[in-house]
């Protein structure tokens, strides 16, 4: 079962493993994000995670290889008491909410608070709003406004950042967004979290999240990878994901500056 560590083969880059845990309300798409990241795949009806699922994936940074050991946890409220078991020793956490469900952001905030208080100090937390594909503004990842299907309401919203928190009811059926990007982003900044909006379905921004996390892990807290074993399934997708991650990383710098532009809501 021992596998060949591709990182070691390609370059003498040091390889280190990072334990990452996914938390968030049920059915926000945690498992789908992982599946997208690990296998570049998407399943419409993914079985709910019982307890937790474990997957690994590597990404290659210029100076090192990061092997993510991903703990994908169950989202239902009552599984929350199991979570400490999974976020124990985690160096990174991905707290996911559903862009179309405001309560999921509240839950996400609870998780952030829990992590900040209970998880290992220095844990890197990323707040991720998933299901961007359900938002009419999903494709507007650049400056361009995707033409909102109805009226100028959305266009205005996009043009004027201040109007970003236009409530969902003013929006049309094509846009199920209920959590304004501004609101979540402001919260993320306040708590110094990484912040992304993603779509596991289209794959938009998914790799970026993991790359950003990889870049944010302080060098000092990186230990060399344990055992070097990775699940067989992850190998296949490895190179692709690493490449995507690489590209994403290149963009990262600019994006950091123009997050606002990214925001098409």
């Amino acid at each position: 079962m021992a596998n060949t560590t591709s990182g070691g083969a390609s370059a003498p880059k040091p390889s280190s493993s990072v334990k990452l845990v996914l938390l968030g309300e049920a059915a926000v798409g945690k498992s789908s994000l992982v599946l997208r990241f690990v296998n570049n795949d998407f399943q419409e009806n993914k079985e709910p995670t019982i307890g937790a699922a474990f997957l690994t994936q590597k990404i290659s940074l210029p100076n090192r290889i990061i092997k993510f050991e991903i703990w994908d946890t169950a989202g239902q409220e009552r599984f929350a008491s199991l979570a400490p078991m999974y976020y124990r020793n985690a160096q990174a956490a991905l707290v996911v909410y559903d862009l179309t469900k405001p309560t999921s952001l509240i839950k996400a905030k609870h998780w952030v608070a829990e992590l900040q208080r209970q998880a290992s100090p220095g844990i890197v937390i990323a707040l991720v709003g998933n299901k961007l594909d359900l938002c009419a503004d999903a494709e507007g990842s650049g400056d361009a406004e995707t033409a909102p299907s109805e009226g100028g309401g959305d266009a205005e919203t996009g043009a004027e950042g201040a109007a970003a928190d236009v409530e969902a009811e003013t929006q049309t059926d094509t846009n199920a967004r209920k959590v304004p990007k501004r609101e979540a982003k402001a919260y993320a900044e306040e708590e110094s979290l990484l912040f992304f909006e993603t779509s596991a379905k289209t794959g938009s921004n998914v790799a970026d999240v993991f790359t950003a996390i990889a870049n944010s892990i302080p060098e000092s807290s990186l230990k060399s990878g344990r055992g070097g074993g990775a699940a067989g399934a992850t190998q296949a997708a490895l190179s692709g994901a690493a490449n995507r991650a690489e590209e994403a990383r290149v963009n990262l710098g600019e994006r950091g500056k123009d997050v606002k532009d990214n925001c098409a809501c």
Binding site: M1, P48, I50, G75, M85, G229
Partner: protein, 1142 residues
């Protein structure tokens, strides 16, 4: 052995077992009933009524003839065992057990040992009494009782009239093995039960008709019956799950489904089916090799016992659905999320049919057990069940799973899951120490791997076909199977697992193992037979052979061992989460305070719940006794497990709303003043003994803690905290309320809050009644801090601090007295000023008639319902009092000079700490000092009318603030005492209060340390917070009738006079003009007597109310205070009048 048994039987027969069983102690401690029910998988309504050693004889071939002479038939199987009778079941098991209360526990739990594949019920039968058609007593040699049972086997489903001779009646022969007496008793019980049972036959018929076995046997027997029944009996096969529509998983041929079916058909023919099935070794073997698809569901039902629950209430499922149709719930919302992701690879669940069934079963269960509701993983389990079971069947199997087989697994806290993970880990540690050490060393958490195995019963870990094989055994033998399988998985993969050291590799090894379960376990073996053994078969063998020592008992033992730790973990997590999620308001309180509030809140609710449950049990028991031995109408789904006692957050859903009674309790544990002063009756020295007993009683009624008071103020607080007006407080409400009171530390906020408590209309006004209520509340709140109470119900303070003191400490007394009286003075001043500065509701109503003073005096008189008997002169007290006061160093110099707590005249200068809203007042103040204006007149007029119901008046917040800030003591009261009187994490006083020693009335004879509070009040009011704790602790335990009390009264009077005089002087200076005006407007006074009448009309109601609110002596104490209030006011007024006279 035999002899021993007879001895036991004899001993048992001496004590009437039915009586013993009925005693409430066994009801409350139902471990034996529970064990009994678990062994035979009976509904919760059943309990062991009778038992007797017996021998079961099953003739092998009774297919041939109907009138076999059983005596002569020696071809058959004999089983020695125990025959049990419950309310509606007759059970026989070869697992020797005894569940009667007078047998030892070890005997009754013996079935929990190794069962050798038979399941806890062993060989034997579990016959519903209604399934027994006839019982005959057979002629037998000597004294042996022999019963021949004839069952309804196979006769219920076919149409009446034409009894087919092809179905031989099932007959069972039982030799009872006991004394004549015991046998007779047993038979009597059986007779009674059978009579009741006949009523149930119809229900049995319905249930049985859904069993596939009936259909199967009809088909098997069909050819013998001839064709004329074709139409009648060739009915549609009963629903045997989605598999009938969408195929069953696995390759039927590979699974040898057909031959299994045949074997089962034969077995049923010989040993009965569904309700009348007799368990023989073949039964257990047939289960081990895997059930055939169409019978799988039915056998699950029988071996799990869900069939018997379904028999109790066959329509529960449909009724539940229709009763709740259209309703919504959180559970339903959660269920909807998962419907499309439950075994999505099975075609049945890609169809609306399958999804619909899944939805209905999960929904129905969430209604029937709202505590569990819906837990992820249930969807997977139910989806799996639905492949083999009809909706109704799946519903009942699910309920058995959740209630009995997997207790706590799917509960809101999932404590069962966590607990079993701990148990599993400890079993691994015990059985595979090397692997365990390796896991620990490499920091691999086993439960992250194994948790899903248990939670979803291996269904989404293994390929479905194998998971169902595990389930087959699981339903028969119980939860220990999950452990055995889990251990076997680790054992088989042990070597590989030892080679890796991270979670990832660990998981992937097991994943690939599960994926290859169907492969040969020994692919390279020369031996063909060995090669044919699959990995799954190997797994089963390892599980049940190597880990045979894992029994129900060892699992139970481990569970008991780890239970507390697991629950504590969950609870601390729940607490942490809950506190963190309390919202921004809660941030005003310290975390440890929040923790204390949380603990206290739930402690109270649990006490309440436990009390309710105890009462409920009592009720149930009574009812049960009434109904016995009839059937119980108790909801068969309600589990009565031992474990289900309330009291722990970790165990599951908990009440979260605090009612007023609970709230009083909560306050009593939080604030000194909320503790009632009185036990049922006042404590007198001469009746100490009786009161002691009484007190103990009353204490136990409140769970050995201080009995809470009940007061208008507490009711107001409750109503005010109840933001959503739901008649109860959530933790959030309580925290918000406390945060507002305690969290701000801002006197203005506290004052506003206090005001708002009395602002009933929410219009910023407090009317006359409100003002009086306010002052009552002030007295109520302060009575422990500043004033001794006549009959304290808890004397902890006294015990703590003064247990040895037998003589009142004069010095302390006096200092204490000064505080009390000073506060009293402040309150009286408060009332007066409130009325003085009150605004009339209708300016038009203003009349300028009678002078204020008399009326105020009378208004105060309304409070003076008091006894002023204790008015002996105590001159030396007073002297000493003065002396002490002169000598003591106080932070407030003016107190040494004057007892009047007013540091500044409110009418002249605004209090320094005036807040913005108060600036609204300067107008008034200005007009006051500038005097003579119409404004003053207005006020004077309203003052006059203070108590005239014809002229409603009110004070506003601004007025209230001013009045409070005008008085130093009141200011201190709101600045520190009031907020600090809520003790959260720093609440030692009340723990002490509830300690048993503190209730010893002997301690009451001592005058408590009254000095401490005073000192603290003086010094600690603004600086030393701790001081006020002591105020609370030391507050007011006064022996009634003691010299000290008289001293208190005298001093109050005297000091009140002095204070009043002083105050009057100051007031006069400021109000010179005002008084003048007042004087000139005195005009024709109202007749005093008239006014008396007026008050009398109104007062009684109030008094009555008070009487209700305040018990016994507390009333007395308040009355006394009121009278004192009056007393203090009187000289004040007199002084005023004197002035006027001048």
């Amino acid at each position: 052995m035999f002899q021993f048994n007879t001895l036991v039987q004899k001993a048992q027969s001496l004590i009437d077992p039915s009586v013993a069983v009925l005693s409430p102690t066994t009801e409350r401690n139902p471990s034996k009933s529970v064990l009994f029910r678990h062994q035979f998988r009976l509904p919760d309504s059943q309990s062991p009524l009778q038992e007797i050693s017996a021998e079961l004889f099953i003739p092998t071939t009774h297919t041939r003839s109907t009138e076999t002479s059983l005596e002569s038939n020696v071809n058959g199987t004999k089983y020695a065992g125990e025959l049990h009778l419950s309310e509606s079941f007759l059970c026989f098991s070869t697992q020797r057990t005894s569940f009667l209360p007078n047998s030892s526990f070890s005997a009754s739990s013996s079935f929990t040992g190794q069962t050798h594949g038979t399941g806890p019920a062993g060989n034997g039968f579990t016959l519903p009494l209604c399934a027994i058609r006839r019982v005959e007593r057979m002629k037998s040699q000597s004294h042996v009782f022999t019963l021949a049972l004839t069952t309804w086997n196979g006769m219920l489903v076919r149409s009446s009239g034409k009894d087919t001779p092809t179905v031989p009646p099932q007959r069972l022969v039982i030799h009872l093995d006991g004394s004549q007496h015991a046998c007779e008793r047993f038979c009597d019980g059986l007779k009674k039960g059978l009579r009741e049972g006949t009523k149930e036959v119809d229900r049995l018929r319905t249930v049985v008709s859904h069993c596939y076995s009936e259909y199967l046997l009809e088909r098997l027997l069909g050819p013998c019956r001839g064709n004329e029944k074709e139409d009648t009996y060739r009915r549609e096969p009963p629903d045997a799950g989605l598999g009938m529509l969408f195929r069953y998983p696995g390759d039927a041929r590979k699974l040898r489904d057909r031959s299994k079916m045949r074997l089962w058909g034969e077995y049923f023919r010989e040993n009965g089916r569904n309700a009348t099935l007799v368990r023989q070794p073949t039964f257990h073997k047939l289960i081990r090799v895997g059930l055939p698809n169409r019978l799988r569901g039915e056998i699950w039902e029988i071996s799990s016992g869900s069939l018997y629950i379904r028999m109790r209430s066959p329509n529960l499922y449909t009724e539940t659905l229709s009763k709740h149709s259209g309703k919504d719930s959180l559970a339903i919302e959660e269920i909807e999320k998962d419907l499309n992701r439950s075994l999505p690879e099975y075609p049945g669940f890609q169809s609306e049919e399958g999804i619909g069934r899944l939805r209905r079963v999960l929904t129905a269960y969430s209604w029937i057990n709202e505590e569990v509701g819906y837990c992820q993983a249930m969807n997977i389990v139910v989806a799996a069940l639905l492949i083999y079971l009809s909706e109704t069947q799946a519903f009942f199997v699910l309920s058995v799973l959740c209630d009995r087989l997997l207790p706590g697994y799917y509960s809101i806290t999932m404590y069962g899951t966590l607990l079993d993970q701990k148990v599993f880990e400890s079993l691994v540690e015990k059985t595979m120490p090397v692997l365990w050490d390796h896991l620990v060393k490499s920091d691999v958490q086993l439960s992250v791997v194994s948790l899903p195995w248990f939670l979803s019963l291996y269904i989404n870990s293994m390929p479905l076909v194998f998971a169902f094989r595990v389930l087959d055994v699981f339903f028969l033998e119980g939860p220990k199977v999950l452990f055995q399988i889990g251990l076997a998985i680790l054992r088989i993969n042990g070597e590989e697992l030892l080679d890796v050291s991270d979670d990832g590799s660990f998981i992937s090894i097991l994943k690939s193992y599960f994926a290859r379960l169907d492969e040969s376990a020994h692919p390279k073996s020369e031996n063909e037979k060995l090669r044919a053994i699959t990995r799954f078969q190997e797994l089963m063998v390892v599980a049940f052979k190597e880990f045979a020592a894992v029994t129900h008992a060892s699992v139970a033992e481990q569970r008991a061992k780890h239970k507390d730790a697991v629950l504590e973990n969950i609870e601390s997590f729940a607490k942490r989460t809950s506190i963190r999620n309390l919202g921004p308001e809660s941030k005003k309180l310290a975390v440890k305070d929040l923790g204390a509030v949380y603990d206290r809140f739930y402690e109270i609710l649990y006490e309440r719940q436990a009390k309710d449950k105890a009462a409920d049990d009592e009720e149930k028991w009574k009812e049960r006794q009434k109904l016995r031995p009839k059937f119980l109408s108790v909801n068969p789904m309600v589990s009565q497990e031992d474990d289900n006692r309330p009291g722990r957050v970790g165990m599951g859903p908990s009440p979260s709303i605090m009612e007023y009674t609970d709230f009083r309790n909560f306050l009593a544990k939080t604030a000194k003043w909320a503790v009632s002063d009185s036990p049922a009756s006042p404590v007198r020295a001469d009746q100490r003994n009786s009161t002691q007993r009484q007190r103990r009683k009353s204490a136990s009624a409140w769970n050995d803690s201080a009995e809470p008071a009940d007061h208008d103020f507490m009711q107001r607080l409750f109503r005010h905290w109840d933001e959503s007006k739901q008649g109860g407080l959530s933790l959030q409400n309580v925290v918000n309320g406390l945060a507002r009171l305690k969290g701000t530390g801002d006197i203005m906020a506290t004052i506003s809050y206090f005001f708002s408590l009395f602002d009933d209309q929410g219009n910023g006004r407090v009317d006359r009644e409100g003002i009086l209520s306010m002052s009552e509340a002030l007295l109520f709140l302060s009575r422990r801090g500043f004033e001794g109470t006549l009959t304290p119900s808890d004397s902890s303070n006294a015990v703590d601090q003064l247990a040895s003191a037998t003589e009142p400490n004069a010095k302390r007394d006096t200092t204490k007295l000064s505080t009390s009286e000073r506060f009293l003075g402040s309150v009286s001043a408060f009332i007066r000023r409130c009325f003085e500065y009150a605004d009339p509701d209708h300016p038009a109503n203003q009349k300028e008639d009678s002078p204020t003073l008399t009326q105020v005096e009378q208004s105060v008189d309304r409070f003076a319902i008091g006894d002023e008997d204790a008015d002996e002169d105590e001159e030396d007290d007073l002297l000493e009092f003065l002396e002490t006061r002169g000598n003591s160093k106080r932070p407030f110099p003016q107190t040494a000079v004057s007892p009047v707590p007013v540091s500044s005249d409110p009418l002249r200068d605004a209090t320094p700490s005036c807040s913005p809203p108060l600036t609204a007042r300067p107008k008034v103040q200005a007009s006051n000092s500038n005097s003579g204006s119409s404004h003053t007149q207005t006020r004077a007029a309203s003052h006059n009318l203070a108590l005239d119901p014809e002229n409603p008046l009110h004070i506003t917040l601004a007025t209230f603030r001013m009045v409070i800030l005008a008085d130093e003591l009141l200011e201190q009261f709101f600045e520190s005492f009031f907020p600090q009187s809520f003790h959260l994490s720093d609440a030692p006083n009340l723990n002490a209060a509830s300690s048993p020693a503190s209730t010893l009335s002997g301690n009451l004879t001592t005058f408590s340390s009254l000095g401490t509070p005073v000192k603290n009040l003086m010094s600690g009011s603004s600086t030393d917070k701790e001081g006020f704790v002591h105020v609370g602790r030391a507050g007011g335990v006064v022996e009634p009738g003691s010299r000290g009390l008289r001293g208190v009264l005298d001093n109050i009077v005297n000091d009140g006079m002095r204070m009043a005089a002083e105050m009057r002087k100051r007031m006069d200076e400021a109000q010179h003009e005002y008084e003048r005006n007042n004087n000139s407007h005195l005009g024709p006074r109202r007749d005093e007597e008239d006014e008396d009448d007026e008050f009398d009309e109104k007062a009684p109601a109030r008094r009555d109310q008070d009487e209700d609110l305040l018990e016994g002596a507390e009333v007395a104490s308040i009355k006394t205070m009121r009278s004192d209030t009056a007393a203090t006011l009187q000289p004040d007024l007199m002084g005023g009048e004197t002035k006027l006279g001048e």
